[in-house]
């Protein structure tokens, strides 16, 4: 079987080549699917993947799909090993030369900037406060998913990496963002907002930037709200706000919100999904704006993936992720648009978030 890799904890990874795949059927509700799996495989280690549109599909019915995909997939892990990053990389066969991909953005710069202007108008009219605007990129590739994973592993920082052999495509994720982590009764999330090139002075250029501060604060209040929706007895708490996240190719600020809960994964996802940092605020109206402006369905991108066992799980926000479909390789990037957003700067941030792909991208107009 194709190898499956998923972040675990403390820089350790789950590695398995013995698993069973369950997919959510087109006419099946994802919550029902998760509950059925939980009832049958509660104590087993599982790896879960869920698409962005799973609980808002009616908004995106007329959007183009980049590839055929199941709404949700779960791997029941029969056997696995736990590897450190170094052991993991040694396990995958090497390629002689670094891989190169020529990515093409499936969005014109002028069109992207025009969309930023439309969002700013909607913000002025009071319809929304912030929206995350994204677009896909595509390249040809002849490499195996494992080789792509290994090639970009060191180049992308981030704690939530994974390689998932889904039935319809391979996901190669280098996500730096934790969406939901539950350890017994404690549930937490760590939204990221605010970006800066790695060579900038973090304290000066990011921490003192009011626009970046407001963007993250807004998402913190939104996620407090989503967590407060889970429980009435316990209230969410902000455990830290605006700490530095250094990723080697970019730096960000992030925060942490937590709450006590006994609710199931399906119940928690129903009120927190899709994640606030990749949709916008207020969330309901932002999702409508995304449906109006973005050309393609996001599918796996900005969905979630991670491991689940018993009452514990850890799920990333699936950003900074490659999707390999036959010999096509997709990648996506996006930016949080607020009223003070400058369309040109947002386009530059869009490019910056493509990490090490940007060296080839920057040469394009």
């Amino acid at each position: 079987m194709k190898p499956l890799i998923c972040f675990y904890q403390d820089d350790q990874y789950i590695y398995s080549d013995n698993y069973a795949i369950h997919t959510c059927k087109a006419d099946q509700n994802v919550s029902d699917f998760l509950n059925l799996i939980e009832a049958s495989f509660k104590k087993e280690l599982k790896v879960v993947q869920i698409n962005f549109e799973y609980n808002t599909n009616e908004l995106f019915l007329d959007k183009k799909e980049l590839y055929a995909a199941d709404k949700a997939t779960i791997f029941i892990i029969n056997q696995h090993e736990i590897f450190t990053a170094k052991q993991l990389i040694n396990k995958i066969p090497s390629t002689m030369n670094p891989l190169t991909h020529q990515f093409k953005i499936l969005e014109e710069k002028e069109s992207f900037k025009h969309k930023v202007e439309i969002i700013k108008k909607e913000i002025s009219a009071g319809r929304i406060y912030q929206v995350n605007l994204t677009a896909p990129l595509v390249s040809e590739t002849n490499y195996t998913p494992e080789k792509i994973f290994k090639n970009y592993f060191e180049k992308f920082g981030g704690s939530y990496k994974a390689l998932l052999p889904l039935p319809s495509c391979d996901l190669i994720s280098f996500s730096p963002e934790l969406f939901l982590k539950k350890q017994q009764r404690k549930l937490k999330t760590q939204p990221i907002k605010g970006s800066l090139p790695i060579n900038s002075d973090f304290a000066k250029d990011l921490l003192e930037n009011n626009k970046e501060e407001a963007e993250l604060s807004m998402i913190v209040d939104l996620l407090r709200n989503d967590f407060n929706r889970i429980e009435t007895e316990f209230s969410s708490k902000v455990s830290f706000h605006r700490e530095a996240l250094q990723l080697g190719y970019i730096q960000h600020t992030y925060s942490e919100i937590e709450i006590e809960t006994d609710k199931s994964l399906a119940q928690i996802l129903e009120v927190t999904f899709p994640g606030g940092s990749i949709s916008g605020c207020p969330k309901t109206e932002s999702l409508e704006v995304i449906a109006e402006l973005e050309t393609y369905k996001r599918q796996a991108y900005t969905g979630t993936l991670g491991w689940w066992k018993d009452n514990n799980f850890s799920l990333n926000l699936t950003i900074r992720t490659f999707i390999k479909v036959k010999n096509q390789l997709f990648y996506h990037s996006g930016c949080g648009i607020v009223y003070d957003s400058d369309p040109e700067k947002e386009w530059n941030e869009f490019i910056l978030k493509t990490g090490h792909l940007s060296q080839t991208l920057n040469t394009q107009k």
């Binding site: 709200n225 407060n228 209230s235 003070d340």
Partner: protein, 185 residues
């Protein structure tokens, strides 16, 4: 005290619920689309939300049909609804403030414990005009002098432009006490 919290599809409604909880025995959240004429509680709370008061005519009708003694507390869009129902003017505010903080300039000594206190602002619109015969101003923002906190002189209506439920707002418990003190007078 029971509260009816009208949700205008906002992403802060449940923060408002948790902020109100210590003062309430029961809080019922109802989406504005599901609002029924016969719904009632000791306190009606109007959540923040997107768009303009005029986009919610059914909520404006609901408030208009309440008894003049019914207590109504509006947050952000909620304040703007109370002001527009009283002939005030709601206009775009440039630049919109979302996730930013201001200091309160308290004008009524009864609320002086919140003087200079920082509050969170999330708004693209503001109360450009309000009828001073009907509303008393409790506080404005120190930075731009925009009305932040208003109270109706006859009806039991109070509203805030800022977000008392935000984690950016200092002393949220004092804001809740100000609300309950006002309700008991």
């Amino acid at each position: 005290m029971t509260a009816l919290l009208i949700d205008h599809d906002d992403s802060f409604t449940y923060n408002l619920q948790h902020w109100l909880a210590p003062a309430c025995t029961e809080i019922t959240i109802v989406n504005h689309r599901d609002l029924q004429k016969n719904m009632f509680a000791n306190l009606v709370v109007l959540s923040p939300g997107p768009k303009n008061p005029s986009d919610y005519p059914h909520v404006l009708d609901f408030i208009n049909n309440l008894s003049p003694r019914a207590a109504v507390y509006g947050v952000c869009l909620g304040l703007q609804m109370l002001v527009s129902l009283s002939g005030g003017k709601i206009a775009p505010y440039t630049p919109p403030l979302h996730g930013k903080k201001s200091k309160l300039e308290i004008k009524n000594n009864f609320y002086s414990s919140l003087q200079n206190s920082k509050v969170a602002r999330y708004h693209s619109l503001y109360c450009a005009e309000y009828n001073e015969k009907q509303f008393e101003i409790i506080a404005s923002a120190q930075e731009d002098k925009i009305p932040m906190w208003l109270k109706h002189r006859e009806k039991k209506w109070m509203g805030v432009q800022f977000h008392p439920e935000s984690f950016l707002t200092q002393r949220p418990e004092l804001h809740l006490k100000a609300l309950t003190d006002w309700l008991s007078t």
